[in-house]
Amino acid sequence: MAFWRRSFPVDLAEEGRFSRREFARFLALVSAGFTAGLGWLWWRKKPLDGPAPATGSGPVPLGLAADLKPGQSRLFTFRGPQDRCILLRTPLGELRAYRQACTHLGCAVRFRNDELVCPCHEGVFEIEHGFPIQGPPTRPLSRVALEVRADGTLWAVGDLPAPAGPSPRASLACPLQARREEVA
């Protein structure tokens, strides 16, 4: 007799028996698993829906503005340790700051080849206004207002409203529709 058979002396005739109630309990367990999955999605996404908690509402120093060359980026935290942002200087020399959380599922976007790229699902945002131009994201990145003071220091001072107007993706997909939205 095999070792496992001695250790687990289950009658062969009973091995294949699986009562309806056991089956129904298994179905209920799987159903509870789906519910837990939806609950987890809800719980995980909730902090991303609203604005970031204002733990520190004052301006945040970001160093000297001149230190950042065109095409370079730097990470910083703004309202709290979880509010991660990215500061960048565009190839035209303008400073921009966005929250790093991708508007799709919250992964951290990175500055690469003059675009903000989300590595999770290949979402791409343009750097002028934060509009999505490729991949699953449909909303622009949350933008942080910047201020260069007289002594040359750069400060993150607040939140900018969501950009208005047609997104570059809309104009690429349907130029006529984008022109109509622009006129309206």
Partner: protein, 76 residues
């Protein structure tokens, strides 16, 4: 003694089983649909979907643990 007939008991048992299977089918469809919507950025339907899923799970649990005559096989 007034006991339900075998035919009636079997019919109820089948109905409970079908109900449990139906609930699981709805759960799969609901989860797939909601996940697709979430991936597209529509997260507003998550609370409603969670509540509906929770209600379905409660019904499935009630059927699995409380439904009478669900066990098949001879009675001793």
């Amino acid at each position: 003694m007034n006991r339900p007939s075998n035919a009636r008991r079997a019919l109820f048992s089948d109905a409970a089983l079908v109900l449990a299977l139906l609930i699981l089918g709805i759960q799969v469809y609901l989860f797939e649909t909601v996940l697709q919507a979430v991936l597209e950025g529509q997260r507003g339907l998550l609370p409603g979907a969670f509540i509906a899923s929770l209600a379905l799970t409660l019904v499935a649990l009630a059927v699995a643990f409380k439904a009478p005559h669900l066990d098949d096989g001879p009675r001793h």
